[in-house]
């Protein structure tokens, strides 16, 4: 079983407009700037009438993290970016779904 080594990983919590295309904008950014994205979890935010989504990102980018955040904040449909701990994150809690 692979464990998540907490040192190297960071978790970002994004609030985004729930448009078609938002996922492409976020994933496209990570791909073209070659940021290591290890996990992504998205759902519409309850009580926003389907207008906003929450996107959780699991990153392996300690060094470039500030740059990653700045670039992500520039995306028009990204309303906010917050840094979170891996501990107790959605990625830890769902680890069971990702074991072989």
């Amino acid at each position: 079983m692979e464990t998540l080594a907490p040192q190297a990983k960071s978790v970002l919590r994004l609030t985004v407009n729930n448009h078609p295309g938002v996922m492409s904008h976020v994933c496209g950014l990570f791909a073209r700037r070659s940021y290591n994205l290890e996990g992504i979890m998205v759902r519409p935010i309850a009580d926003t009438d389907g207008k906003k989504s929450r996107m959780w990102l699991l990153l392996n980018e300690e060094e470039k993290l500030q740059q990653v955040i700045s670039q992500t904040e520039k995306l028009v449909d990204v309303l906010s970016v917050e840094k979170h701990e891996l501990e107790d994150s959605v990625f830890e809690k769902t680890q069971g779904f990702f074991n072989s």
């Binding site: 670039q71 520039k74 028009v76």
Partner: protein
């Protein structure tokens, strides 16, 4: 006929199709000229253009249309629009959009798309324009309903113009263009939003540091141009007596002969300019992004200097160089505060050292009195023209010679593809400059390689009878590649010679543009003068030797101190 679209609250609802709505919204944005090429998927938009006051420039290739709009945007600072159809029309636009992204140019690309019910079926001329434009725009849309246009069009202008400018693209399926809507209320035209706030106390801190520095250098870039901060910058530099380097995008901010100007830095900067940067103890970057052609090997760039960085795009701060102090904001606003009660000071020791380095290692413009040599050709053209002319280039040696030697004396005079380095940029951009500023001459320096990449736009220049002058520095080669092969690949020249030459003067004539071949003129200088000074488009062929080189040169990836050539 009165146009109720210009009235914010029309008496009665106006029934419009999506394409009519697009044109009305563009008119309300103040758009007067659109370049483009029609096709199946944008037919409704072209139908709606008829009867509009917007002038359409029919480019001969969508890439030409994109660069024409860029030329208009670069000399005015306004957002400009280009049109293309779906599929190949959209793919042809891609290069011009990507180019706008890297040089922060507010370009709005509006493309037709197949009707929504056919999207995803590999329909005729269907491509994923949204997906293709996504990585090369500030933001982009595919419009799903006619109502969305009311939001998307003003938003597109807002985004293109706000903060650090850039391109956006809007893909409009044909059924959305045909869908009807009753418009009762018009949205406000989109314009740049307020610039980010910053703490004036940081400016005070910055000033303290700058005053305390012994050997400061200013590095100024496109941000000064885009913020309209040229006058403020000149005052700032002069009062603080700081030697100044300009990035490729910042050329013209300080006049060419300004005593504080050290010209361009980096790969093709003067030797002394790069040496001064080696010695400086503080580098103040204003509206710059520390591009690798400017910095060379980053670890070796300004090794003794503390960095101060003022930049509107916060993701540029700390991306390449970690500053000791940074301000995220509009550089003009920062300078305005900095200039308040600015006590003049002098730096005689540092200026003396700079003068010494300049004396020992000046920029050498070899052959600048000979018409058929690169610097000579450029100097002769500059002597014939005045500062009102806009100067564009293509990409290659000729571009770097012009960047080094042409006396650029005002912002937005210089129009060149910096970040993407796109051959084929020059002539259509010059056409755009001439369209936007018909009272200025629009002069494009090109090479015999680059000019072929959008040569079809000669016909567009002729059709509009624009005052565009194209000077081809013709070396029969892809000169800059030849130079690199000569210097870095042991003279192993591979695919850089055109064995079949082109008669550019005849080629121009065939498209209704006057052609002059200076090689065939009895008095070439007189012929050049006449060609430049009379009104109307003209193609001027000026042969030069293929052995000419751009010096100095820093090897790609090398440190700026390790320059090749250009010794006094």
């Amino acid at each position: 006929m009165t146009d109720s679209a210009n009235n914010p609250i029309p008496q009665a609802a106006q029934r419009l199709s999506g394409s009519q709505l697009i044109i009305k919204l563009l008119e309300r944005q103040g758009v007067t000229t659109i370049s483009g090429v029609p096709g199946g998927a944008n037919l409704p938009m072209y139908d709606a253009l008829v009867g509009s006051d917007i002038k359409h420039i029919l480019a001969r290739h969508e890439q030409g249309a994109g660069f024409i709009a860029q030329g208009m945007a670069r000399v005015t600072g306004e957002a400009q629009v280009c049109f293309a159809s779906s599929g190949p029309g959209a793919t042809n636009l891609i290069t011009a959009v990507a180019d706008a992204r890297l040089d922060s140019v507010p370009l709005i690309a509006i493309t037709g798309q197949v009707p929504q019910h056919m999207i995803g079926t590999d329909a005729f001329q269907e491509i994923d324009t949204f997906g293709l434009m996504l990585p090369i725009t500030k933001h982009n849309w595919i419009v799903r309903s006619v109502e969305e246009l009311l939001e998307v069009i003003p938003e597109a202008f807002r985004i293109a113009l706000s903060g650090r400018p850039g391109p956006v693209s809007i893909d409009v399926p044909k059924d959305v263009q045909n869908q009807m809507i009753d418009v009762t209320e018009w949205p406000e035209p989109g314009k740049a939003i307020e610039t980010p706030e910053f703490d004036a106390a940081d400016v005070t801190k910055m000033m303290e540091r700058i005053r305390a520095a012994h050997r400061p250098v200013l590095m100024i870039g496109g941000g000064i141009v885009y913020s309209g901060a040229t006058e403020l910058l000149r005052e700032f530099a002069e009062k603080l007596d700081i030697p100044t380097v300009q990035t490729f995008m910042g050329l013209g901010v300080l006049p060419h002969e300004h005593p504080l100007s050290m010209g361009m830095l980096g790969m093709h900067g003067a030797r002394y300019t790069n040496y001064v940067l080696e010695e400086c103890d503080m580098l103040i970057g204003l509206g710059v992004r520390f591009d690798d052609r400017a910095t060379g090997k980053v670890e070796a760039f300004c090794p003794k200097a503390e960095i101060i960085h003022v930049e509107i795009d916060h993701s540029e701060i700390g991306k390449v160089k970690n500053p000791v102090l940074s301000i995220r904001g509009d550089v003009g606003e920062v300078l305005e505060i900095a200039n308040r009660d600015l006590e003049p000071m002098q730096r005689p020791l540092w200026q003396q050292r700079v003068a010494q380095l300049k004396e020992a290692s000046p920029l050498i413009l070899d052959g600048d009195d000979e018409l058929f040599r690169p610097y000579g050709a450029i100097k002769h053209v500059a002597n014939i023209l005045d500062d009102s002319a806009n100067i564009s280039t293509d990409v290659g040696q000729h571009q770097m010679w012009v960047a080094q030697a042409y006396p650029m004396n005002r912002p937005r005079q210089w129009v060149s593809s910096g970040g993407l380095g796109t051959m084929g940029f020059g002539m259509p951009a010059a056409i755009g400059a001439a369209l936007a500023q018909p009272d200025r001459k629009s002069v494009c320096f090109s090479g015999d390689g680059s000019i072929m990449m959008n040569i079809q736009e000669l016909a567009t220049a002729a059709e509009e009878n624009l005052d565009v002058k194209i000077i081809v520095l013709n070396n029969g080669h892809l000169g800059l590649v030849r130079q690199q092969q000569t210097l870095f690949y042991d003279k192993n020249l591979s695919s850089v010679k055109f064995n079949q030459g082109t008669d550019f003067a005849a080629c121009a004539e065939s498209m209704g543009v006057k052609g002059v071949d200076l090689a065939k003129e009895e008095n070439p200088l007189e012929a050049l003068k006449t060609a430049l000074l009379e009104h109307g488009p003209c193609m001027i062929n000026l042969p030069i030797s293929e052995t000419e080189m751009v010096y100095p040169m820093v090897a790609p990836g090398g440190a700026n101190r390790d320059m090749i050539g250009g010794e006094a």
